[in-house]
Amino acid sequence: MLFGYSFSDLGSILVMQGFSGLSLFSVLLLMALGLAIIFGQMGVINMAHGEFMTIGAYTIYVVSKITEKYFPEFMAYYFVVAILAAFVIAFIVGYFVEFLLIRHLYKRPLDTLLATWGLSLIMQQIFRSVFGGREVSPTLPDWLMGAWAPTPNIDIPINGLFVMVITLIVTGAVILALYKSRWGLKVRATTQNRMMAGAVGINTQKVDRMTFAVGCGVAGIAGAAFTTIASTGPTSGSTYIVDTFLVVVFGGTASLLGTVASAFSISQAQSILTFFMTNAMGKVVTLLAIIVILMLRPEGLFASKVRK
């Protein structure tokens, strides 16, 4: 016995606590990926990122309702399709947003902050007008909402596992796309030196539009994944925005690996702290720690030292 708890208890808690840390990690990472592309690579401060997540969430809702109504026999599988749909829709919206709004503002990064804030207000109101003020809840397939119990007193949330898998796939895909594909090369070229990239015949406009759209698409996937663990309402996306930015900034805007690392450290810190102190204080302490570290390393965790 230890603090009056049996060791099997403590053991299983340890496992589950570790797991909840990991699932928080995958949540943060998934949120941050899209922004890491848009903000990290393009330097666009997209305050409407949360709303793009919400798009994903509502997509799941709509698809689930449709499936329920017309092909109930597919209820168990619709989620996979829905996630792709979430990506596509968010992607398309992002594409047009870039075309109508963002592309005029590349020279004024701080102004993108204001404009996209306005955009987020508009998007929230659109959600409200279309889906109503109330929260909605997509009917999720049962296999997704259950828990996997390897031992009697360990329960591993399946949706947690699910989110992890998605995160793994998306992260892998993004990293490959950015560092291995031709497109990625163009993106990095453009973001590092717009003029040169243009000079060597890269269609920077096209690249920008794609990059932004992909970032939004990823946000859509994140939103879709969150319907399994959190709420879906007109404003639910906006609650993530600060955390998301912190993850990206903390990781050092330049590198995706940095984003991964920061998401990991933040999530672990938060989940451990919230276990030992109250939920609210845990969050406060984590944020404080991030700020202090950012002051010591203004360029973020993974910024490389170069002649400026």
Partner: protein, 247 residues
């Protein structure tokens, strides 16, 4: 001969960016009232050396002594106040202020917050500004918005912004880049005049220009000194030729 006899004594200076040594245990000594030109192929570490001296980049190792004062530990503004002025490669001036205001801001008074708040445009300030403006051939453009000056004039203005602080060591990174032949000559005269009562380090590619001004030339290559001496000595040094032609 002790380091304090030199205006600037750089010893064993090293800086590395993620392993790559941009400057590698460099030793460099500048005399009083000397005009030293530093040349070398791209990536030789010329600009980095200036960055290290003026504190823009922090050294990984080694020492930089200015009149016996260790610079590597000091903050940029302290180094400037100690008497080291630095002009950047691309002219760095306040485009939307007038020439006069550009010089005024650089005038070494009211450098604290409240000093700046209380700063008054007194007669001596005015005289000093006109005096410097004459030196840099801009006396009749004082009210002009700096952004509207020609590239060469901008270079001069920046030099003037340093001169008004009357530094003992002046560092100029490619001062004649983008200048017409006429302007180059004027600049050469300017440099020869100003190095009478201060030491000057110039980074330059244009060999003709270097010939006109250099007392002594240092050739940098891969962060090390390749050769040093008068222009003729350096030019006849086959290692130098090899490096330049090798490119």
């Amino acid at each position: 001969m002790t380091n304090n006899d030199f205006v600037l004594a750089i010893e064993d200076l090293t800086v590395s960016f993620d392993g790559f040594k941009a400057v590698d245990s460099l030793n460099l000594y500048i005399d009083k009232n000397e005009l030293r030109v530093v040349i070398g192929p791209n990536g030789a570490g010329k600009t980095t050396v200036l960055d290290l001296i003026c504190g823009k980049t922090k050294a990984t190792g080694g020492s930089i002594k200015f009149k016996g004062k260790e610079l590597t530990k000091m903050a940029e503004h302290q180094i400037v106040r100690a008497g080291v002025g630095r002009k950047f490669q691309t002219p760095s001036i306040y485009e939307n202020l007038s020439v006069f205001e550009n010089l005024e801001i650089s005038f070494p008074r009211g450098r604290t917050v409240f000093g700046a708040l209380m700063f008054k445009r007194t007669v001596d300030v005015d005289m000093r500004i006109h005096e410097v403006a004459d030196m840099i051939y801009l006396s009749d453009l004082l009210e002009k918005e700096a952004g509207l000056l020609s590239h060469g004039q901008k270079q001069w203005l920046e030099i003037g912004m340093l001169l008004i602080q009357d530094p003992e060591l002046l560092m100029l990174d490619e001062p004649v880049a983008g200048m017409s032949v006429r302007e180059r000559e004027q600049t050469a005269d300017l440099l020869n005049r100003i190095c009478r009562d201060r030491s000057v380090i110039v980074i330059e590619h244009d060999m003709e220009f270097v010939k006109r001004i250099a007392h002594k030339v240092t050739v940098l290559h891969q962060g090390k000194i390749l050769s040093q001496g008068t222009m003729d000595q350096v030019q006849s040094d086959e290692r130098v030729i090899e490096v330049y032609l090798g490119h």
